[in-house]
Amino acid sequence: MKDISSQKSKAIRFREIKEKTIKYALLMCAFTSVLAVIIITMFIFWEGMPLFGSVNPIEFLLNPRWEPSDAVNPSYGILAFIIGSVYVTALALLLGIPIGIACAIFLAEIAKGPVAKVLRRAVEILAGIPSVVYGLFGYQTICIFVRESFGGTGYSVLSAAIVLAIMILPTIINIGEISIRAVPGEYREGSLAVGATHWQTIVRVLLPAARSGIIAGIVLGTGRAIGETMAVLMVAGNSTPIPFLVTDSTRTLTMNIVTDMSYASGLHRVALFTTSIVLFVFIMILNSVIQFLTRKSRMQGA
């Protein structure tokens, strides 16, 4: 009797150990992403920070002259690229937001049946197209369109912005639709009950209520746009001066990293990692804004 019970307890203990082991193994899996974020951050800073030993951070950020291979007087200024990134992204948002939000409202409030299905499928496919394919399309189609309608070489801020606007559309539409749908039904019903038209309800009630979600979508799209590399690389012309006109070609932060990485060495290469720190900080700020907004919209929704 005693024997059996001790055997049983052994089996149970074994089982318990197994369960515990599995639990911790799973915990480790869950921590992979935490670890990844920490390691990524660490490495990017580790490789990029040494630049500030020889270049003043202020100068790095505010000097528009990027001539790292100049033998006599090398200069590591990324102001032109920061401006390029911001310029391209802002223009992309300007083009993408109206259409994106309109589509989101359309999907959440107006479209029914097959129309909604087709649009939703279209948005999904748009999100799945690889950026290098967007780049090829932009290079062969949008750049030519821009060259013929606006002049210049076609490899320009505007081309990049158009490509990016298309690329961020799915993000804005998806999150926009979700947050409009998340607005409690009573809001809509109440508004209609007091005699407001459907459109008035959308503009005065639904959109304000879904505001933080929509903004979160836009911010997420901004992150996508600012971090996009291949598509922009293929259409923006990749020239180092500060762009002024929309038809000027430009180089963004991401383009700077890719372009020089293949041959850079020494301080030049460090400067590329420093460029990625700037990009990373941008993205992290945007990320925090999104997390803040989604939490806010979740609380509103609840």
């Binding site: 799945g128 394919v133 090829l136 399309f137 559309l169 459109w199």
Partner: protein, 670 residues
Amino acid sequence: MKKISTNKTNARLFEKIAKGFLWIAAGMSIVVLLWIIGSILFQGFIAISDREYPVIARGSMTAAFDAERKYTAAFLINSGIRTDELTAQDIIDFYSLEKTDWVISAQDLDVSLFSYEAESGLVESFRESVFGDEFQLAFTARPASTEYEMLGNVAATPGAIGYIDSGLKAFAKSMGVTVLDIPEAENKKIAIIVNKTIGISELSLRHVVEIFLGDERKWNEGGVDIVPYIYTTTNTTHSVFIALMQEGMFKRSCTLVESDHEMIEKVGSTPGAIGFIPEHAIDLARQNPNVKIVTVRSVALFVNPAVMEIKEYRQLRQIAEANVSKLFSGAITNYSEIDGIDLPVVPILYKESTRMDNELRTIQFPEGWEHGVDAISVETEAEFVTTLSKTPGGIGFGNYFSLHNTLVGQVLPVRRQEITQNLTFEFLTEAPSKSSRAGGVSTIIGNTILLIFITLLFAVPFGIGGAVYLVEYSRQGMLVNTLRFFTETLAGIPSIIYGLFGYILFRIVFGLQEGILSAGLTLMIMILPTIIRTAEEALKSVPKSYRFESFALGATKWQTIRRVILPAASPGIVTGIILGVGRAIGETAAVLFTCGSSSRFVLDQGVNVEMFTKSARVLALHIFFLFKESAGNVRAIHQAYATSAILIIVILGINLLTAQLLKRMNSMRN
């Protein structure tokens, strides 16, 4: 009362306009998508290119080597070569060894040349059209002005070699020089002579060619220097000698056959072979399925040099095919109408009664042809050449084979749009070669599949494990919030940062070579958030009752998860994995620094440890590299489109598949 109703109408109108805008926006999104997908697929399957040719489009089965059709040949190629048409320039390039592979048919195949053993008028006239009267003589050759001087020099100089009329053979022997025994030279009534100290009495024509090309410098290992003598004045002996050297060149580069029958057999059995047969043997060749007779385009547009001069930044460099006939019908009377300089067009045409090449005739006298008003008529090729060179603004059709050597730089290239199939079956099954100018993407597809496999090998366990922990084990709170925060953050990091991170961690810290292991690990971290998020949703959607029932039966937590919850959530989990694949397959920036660029298949030396750390190009990278190579290589852009079309088809397939899975999942839940 009335006012209110107008207000109402206005409001309704406004509402309609506003909703119309939404419809337009939605329509625009769909149009943009269709535009992108349509343009990628269209150009992926169909290649449209503007190409420039020295000859005009129409071609005939036989090629004449002069306008009067004294000798004509049909060119035949091995039927494995994917083209039905060659230009005179292509053939000349092949036989003069300027082009040695079949890049024109986008194949990784070397050209094998065939010619006849025996000399004939056909072989000679073809050879003449390939080389003209050119032969690159040795840089070190010394001069002689007469045959007697040549004899004297060769007799006096150790190591000397020269050539004389074979009528002077006896005299040469009396002077003490050795006359070499070379049958080909004998046939052409020419004698190759060498200084007697060299001590040889025969030499193959091949060697003589190498000596006069300057490829051979010494008579034997460590021996006497070769001293070739050539005539400085052009005499008959010299031009016959040049023809002899060209014969030698042909014999050096071609496989020689004895009969038409053998020619057809050999071309049929050698991959990449090209040969020619006389016109009367065409029927014989048609009986052999291993060869095909190609159409040869050999009519070119020749112009007076004045036409292609540069004046005031204008120059006529080429002409659109559609404009060619207009020059002769009088529709275009001045070159300035087609971007050239201000110069009147003067057409020069053969008289209709002249005996001429069929192709030349059909181009000059098509049905319903109306002669240009001011056309100058000529009767022979020689007359054509002299008239053309005397007439500023002169333009006319000529046989490319016979005239390209005479009228160098006077060919006006013709531009035309060509439509070909782009994404062919061969594109999927052939390896890329000749830096993407030929072949397809088979090895790259292989690399991509392996990369995705490795990525999933790491991403799936970690992703699902993480999701299981988040849903099943952790209590909501700080920990889950933190984990979720980091997962979201990870999802927001741009792929270029992943690329840099992968580069630092796997290449610098771990010291791995670029290859599918480094790239796969980088991609794994990238697609982790996608898999975790979808798996989380799927796990959450499994009804609570499943868990309780399983526990009630005495199952442990892990047993419940493994046997009950994971199977129930599997469609959702699989959806997440497929979405991850979709993301990984198109990713470029993240693998740019970790995957490498070699277009060889990583398994080409079998399955071993090195396959993980071998530079490997994947589809998305291939598109980017092709894009970078596209300057001056139209085919690169076509290939980029074809590769993109493959990716798009995969993405569409994934989209369809996930939609089906989600539908099944929803119906199960209901």
